[in-house]
Amino acid sequence: MKNLKGEYYNSPFSHVYVEKEVWEHPRTKRILAKLPDADVIEIDHYKDVFCRKGQDYVLQHRAQNLILGAKHGTLLYKGAPVCQSFGNQNFYYTSCMMNCIFDCEYCYLKGMYPSGNLVVFVNLEDIFKEVEKLLLKEELYLCISYDTDLPALEGLMGYVQEWLQFVEENLFSGKKRLTVEIRTKAADSHFFERHFPVPGVIYGMTLSPQIVIESYEHKTPALRQRIAWATQAMTEGYRVRLCFDPMIYCKEWKQRYSEMLEDVFSQIDMDKIEDVSVGTFRVSQDYLKKMRRQQPCSMVVQYPFINDKGVYHYPKELTKEMEQFLVDRLKERIAEKKIFLWEDEEM
């Protein structure tokens, strides 16, 4: 018997649920080879586990399990209005994974998904084909790390590597231009040993004040690590976007965000930054309702937000003050045209 008192939760991916359909898929085999101690359970469809009734997202996330399946139907989605398009016309996103190993209390995934388990679609080649089809007609701006954090899972899944190869091949294929955004909070310094810069790929590093990271962004790297990663990435020729989104309110927010910017400005060459995005926390009312129910003691989701046409956000004056504060400070170091404020899209 294990010592039951020793640990309260199973370690991540102690159980792997594998769809019959992908049982023999090379990616399934590759991933399972890295999890030799996991109990592997065969399932008919990923939704049989992921969409069960009555699941507890928060508890499941503490002992997160892995579901390997195949994605069918729609593989590329039009970008949602609450998401920043950075001025791109054909803005799409894709979900080759659902959920994240990081545990940010304010993350909309907690309201969007019925389960805290991680789903990985191993039929990446089908998504690539879909992208290629679209590229025959038009240029594409594609976010591939929205409903997950691909770099955080790179050691196990290797999906960033596969996307890089795909984008690079596309560069020389004569098709329309493909730009891919990889949003992340991961800051693995070994990333650069195994990856290479590709002109069509932008890494969107999300930055928050250290107090916000410690309070709400559980299991994520510290601010200094994220800044160091972004600095090294740019030195090595990667395109980096800084995302100050979502900005999170705390009583001393002005001071905390000032300190964060000082750290950023002192270490990152802002002239080399691709662009920056700014936006305060906002979430749909349905998601917030679920997030609040699941996290009754989370200060960040229990803030008395204002409901504006189905979207919850901080009171207008506070939203404006927080965003303006950050934009003003950023303008001192970066051209205004490189600063993208989410409200701009709305207007």
Binding site: G6, V40, I41, K53, M299
Partner: protein, 317 residues
């Protein structure tokens, strides 16, 4: 509501037969609750355990759960404990042998030989996959906590297992687990349900006596108790902070709603504001008293109440 058990969470243990329950009843010093007419129910309110002897089969299990688990809350658990048949003496198929797939999966080599027993009589398993044979529906209870038990997949049928039955790649066979899961889902989430099964036979259940069942369960009662105690600890841990928060929230919201003449909508907004205040470290009781001292509370009507709420919100945020 729970009956006088304070902050202790309740573990509902469901067995089909008394012979499966006896060792657990003795271990936890459970006392018979004679208020139940249709089922034998044994309680120990101090430790937060209720054991229900449901009878054999799916319908008995479903009715027993409906009859006894209506008061279940977050932090409570349902544990189905009982004997089952071991499906053995077959060549283990590559796909069906899911749980043995650890390490062996990639080589695609079965790691058990023909006629080798997968499970021994008296061995206890925690089920991670349950299939209802009659419908083909499959259920997956969450396995979130370390337990030290072997895990297995179980097939639930309408009649006792015999060797000629279709095995569908499962290791274990019983007559209740799928029904317990489906009925339990009305009151519990998949993270709150566990299925502990002790192998009693290999398809000749008619030869198993009540005395043998008692012995099999006695042989495993320590493991079952350890598992149940751990769930109890988990439930307590998860709920302790929440209960305190909800208690303060309830009492403060009641007082302030009354004195601000809140409408239903305003009461909800006030409640949210108080919750945030408590979480952010504001002493809500002290703030309320302060507003009384300043003569801002109690308000004389709704209009004044609305202004007072705005002032209250400003101070909290």
């Amino acid at each position: 509501m729970k009956e006088n058990i304070g902050v202790i969470n309740m573990i509902y243990i469901l067995t089909a037969m008394y012979a499966e329950a006896r060792a657990i009843i003795t271990h936890f010093h459970l006392k018979k609750d004679i208020s139940h007419i249709h089922f034998q129910v044994f309680d120990n309110q101090e430790v937060g355990i209720r054991l229900i002897v449901a009878g054999i089969g799916a319908i008995s299990a479903a009715v027993a759960i409906a009859d006894t688990c209506m008061a279940a809350e977050a932090g409570d658990f349902l544990v189905n404990v009982g004997i089952c048949a071991g499906i053995q003496e077959e060549k283990v198929s590559e796909k069906g042998n899911d749980c043995l797939a650890k390490g062996a999966l990639l080589s695609r080599e079965p790691n058990q030989g023909e006629n080798e027993r997968i499970c021994r009589i008296g061995e206890i398993f925690l089920c991670n996959k349950i299939r209802e044979q009659i419908t083909g529906r499959t259920f997956y209870p969450d396995i979130l906590y370390p337990h030290g038990l072997k895990e297995a997949q179980i097939l639930t049928g309408a009649a006792a297992y015999t060797k000629d039955k279709k095995k569908e790649g499962f290791w274990l066979y019983d007559m209740e687990a799928a029904a317990v899961y489906q009925a339990g889902l009305y009151y519990f989430g998949p993270h709150q349900m566990s299925f502990l099964k002790v192998v009693s036979d290999y398809g000749d259940a008619e030869k198993v006596t009540a005395e043998q069942v008692r012995e099999l369960m006695e042989g495993n009662v320590e493991r079952i108790a350890e598992y149940v105690n751990f769930l109890q600890e988990i439930g307590r841990k998860e709920q302790s902070g929440i209960s305190f928060l909800e208690d303060v929230l309830l009492s403060e919201t009641e007082k302030l709603c009354r004195d601000m003449h809140c409408s239903k909508t305003m009461a909800a907004a006030l409640r949210q504001c108080i919750r945030y205040g408590i979480l952010s470290g504001v002493d809500i009781a002290e703030l309320r008293k302060e507003m009384y001292r300043e003569g801002k509370l109690p308000c004389k009507d709704k209009r004044e109440g609305k202004l007072c709420f705005e002032e209250f919100k400003r101070r909290v945020l």
